[in-house]
Symmetry: C2
Subunit: 334 residues, 2 copies
C-alpha cells in the first residue's frame, strides 16, 4: 500500500508524549493508508507503542536524542542537530514523510521549516494559518498570518489569499472561497498604508474572491472563508478570541455551579453547554499549517492534549491526501 506518511515530533510539547501517542494510535486505527513515523526518545516510544494495539506496518520509530524546549530560540534549531524536531523535518525534506506534525516551540519550528524544508518558490513569508471556529454550523474560517512574521507587505497578504484559497478548495472543498482583509473598519480607505495597498491588490486579483475589509468583531461570525492579515495583528486578534472564549466559558461554569440549586439545574443543560463548548473549544482547532513552506508543516498548540493532537494529525493527513502543496504551488504561478 502507498502510505501517506506523517513525521510526528512527539517531544517538546507541554504534556509529554503520552497524549501524542494516544492521538496517533486513534487516527492510525481510522485511516488505514496512514503511516506515522514517531520521532523522539526511542525507548519511551517503544514502551508506549507496545502497550497500545496498532498495525505495525503503519508505525515507525525514529530515534532522536535531543529536544527543542519551549524556551529554546531560533538558533537552537541549528545547535540541536539530533533533536526530534530537526529529525522530523529532515524526514520530510528527504521525501521519507509527506508532512510533519509537532507540538513543539513555535519560533524554532518556523525557523526549522525555513532552514530545512525551505519555502515555496515566490513566497518570501510563509503564513501561520489556524482554523477559527464560528457560530455558523459546520463553518470555520481560516486566518493568516497569526505570527510567523510580524511585519508583512501588501504582496505577502495577496500571497496569503492565493495560498489559502487553494487550500480551501483542496481540503475543505469550497468552490470559490471568500477572502476578507482584517481591518479596523469596513471602508476601503481604512487602516494603515499596508491595508490600503493590500485592499487594492486583492480587489484587482482575479484569482481571489475578495469581499472587502472585515472588523475583528465579526471574526467568529462565519461571514467569510479566509481572513488575511499581518502576523502581528493576527496574533493579537487570535489570542484575544481565545482568551475571551476561555474566560467566558469558565465564568459561566462557575456561575452555574455556585449553589446546589444551580448545580441541579445545570446538570440538565450539560448537553447544551457541551454543544457550545465543542464548537468554540480551541482544542478542536489546535492545528495551524505553515502555508508557503515547501511541504506540509503543522504545528499543534504547545499544551495539546490527545484531542488537540488528534485534530492536528487529522488536518495533516487531510492536507497530504488532498495534495495541498502541489495545488498551492500551482495557484501561485497562475
Amino acid at each position: 500500500m502507498e502510505y501517506k506518511v506523517i513525521a510526528f515530533d512527539v517531544m517538546g510539547s507541554d504534556n509529554g508524549l503520552i497524549p501524542a501517542v494516544d492521538a496517533a494510535i486513534k487516527l492510525l486505527g481510522e485511516q488505514k493508508d496512514l503511516k506515522i513515523i514517531f520521532v523522539g526518545n526511542e525507548e519511551a516510544l517503544k514502551k508506549e507503542l507496545s502497550s497500545r494495539k496498532h498495525n505495525p506496518d503503519q508505525v515507525e520509530i525514529k530515534n532522536a536524542t535531543e529536544v527543542i524546549e519551549m524556551t529554546d530560540g531560533i538558533m537552537d534549531i541549528r545547535r540541536k542537530k539530533d533533536s526530534s524536531m530537526v529529525r522530523a523535518l529532515e524526514l520530510v525534506r528527504d521525501g521519507k514523510a509527506h508532512g510533519i506534525t509537532t507540538g513543539g516551540a513555535t519560533a524554532p519550528f518556523i525557523a526549522g521549516c525555513h532552514f530545512i524544508i525551505k519555502k515555496m518558490d515566490g513566497i518570501e513569508r510563509p503564513g501561520f494559518m489556524p482554523v477559527i471556529p464560528t457560530n455558523v454550523k459546520d463553518k470555520t474560517t481560516l486566518l493568516l498570518d497569526v505570527g510567523a512574521n510580524l511585519e508583512c507587505d501588501p504582496e505577502d497578504l495577496v500571497n496569503f489569499a492565493i495560498m489559502a484559497t487553494a487550500y480551501s478548495k483542496a481540503v475543505k472543498g469550497i468552490k470559490n472561497p471568500t477572502v476578507a482583509l482584517l481591518n479596523i473598519g469596513e471602508e476601503k480607505s481604512k487602516g494603515l498604508e499596508l491595508h490600503k495597498e493590500a485592499y487594492k491588490l486583492l480587489e484587482a486579483n482575479k484569482e481571489i474572491n475578495f469581499v472587502g475589509n472585515l472588523e475583528s468583531r465579526y471574526l467568529v461570525n462565519g461571514q467569510v472563508d479566509i481572513i488575511v492579515t499581518d502576523g502581528y495583528s493576527g496574533n493579537i486578534a487570535l489570542k484575544a478570541l481565545e482568551g475571551m472564549g476561555k474566560t467566558l466559558l469558565n465564568e459561566i461554569k462557575s456561575a452555574i455551579t455556585k449553589t446546589l440549586f444551580r448545580k441541579l439545574a445545570a446538570l440538565r443543560l450539560k448537553k447544551a453547554f457541551k454543544e457550545v463548548a465543542a464548537k468554540f473549544d480551541y482544542k478542536n482547532h489546535a492545528g495551524a499549517i505553515l502555508l508557503g513552506a515547501n511541504s506540509i508543516a503543522f504545528k499543534s498548540h504547545g499544551s495539546s492534549d490527545k484531542t488537540a493532537f488528534y485534530a492536528t494529525l487529522k488536518m495533516t493527513y487531510n492536507a497530504i491526501k488532498n495534495d495541498v502543496v502541489n495545488k498551492v504551488k500551482k495557484a501561485l504561478v497562475e
Copy 2:
C-alpha cells in the same frame, strides 16, 4: 450650588435621543450637583424633557440645527458648524461645561476634540481609553489607544501610561496602578520595534508601575490596571473581545432554549447567566474617554441604549468630579 456641567450631544447616535434623555434624567436624579446641557433639536428635547420628572435647575437646552451623521467624516466637523457635536464641544471650550458626552460618530468626534477643545500641552496623540471588563470581581482594566490614532510612536505609549495612571488614581482610587504593554509574547524582546523601544522607556520611567508585556489572551483576566498599545492593535483586540463575547453569549442562549426541557432548566439559572452577562456586557462599559484632550471628552457606543448612555454619563460626571484633567496635566509635567 456649583454644578458639575456636562454638555450632552444627544443627536447622531443610532437609537435617537429618547434613550439619551432617559439616561440623563436617571443620573440627574441621583447626582444633585450635576447639570446637563442637552444639545440638539430644541423642540424634540423640550417635548421629551417636559414629560419626565426632573429639577429644572439641573437642565438646560442648547439648540443645534445640524447633526453629525454616522457616515460623516472628519471634515464634516468644519462644515456643520451648527451641529450638536460642534455646539457641545464649543460649550466645553468656552468653559460653560466641564465635559462632553456624545454617542455620535467617532472620527468626527476625535477631529472635533482636536480642533475645538485642543490637546493637552506635551500630548501629540490623545488616546481613546475604554474600560475592559474582567473575570476578577469589581476589577476592570483600562486599554488605550483603541483607535484615536492608527500609528503611535514609543513616546505616545509612555504618555498613555502616564495619563492612564493619573486617571486610575483620580477616578478609580488605585494607589499604584500597574501598567502592561500589549504584545505578542511576554519576553522583553518580543514585538515590533515600537514595542521593544516602548518597553525600554516604560521600564525606565519611575512614574509608571510597569509590569511588562501582556498577551491579548489575558486581556480580560484582570492581571493589570492599564494596558497600553498602538491604536491599530488596540482596536483589533477590543473588537475581537466584543465579538467573541457577544457571539458566545448568543450561542449559549440559543443552546439552552432549544428544547422545552432545556428552557425549563435554564429558567432556574436565569440569575447565574445575568451575573455573567452583566460583568461582560459592553453596555455597562460603553464609554471611552479621549485622554489627552484638553477637557473631559467621552464617547459612548454609537448603538448606545439607556444603560450604555447612563454608564458613559456617569463616567463623565466622575471624571469631572475628580478633576481628572488637572491631575493628568500635572502628571505629565512631573
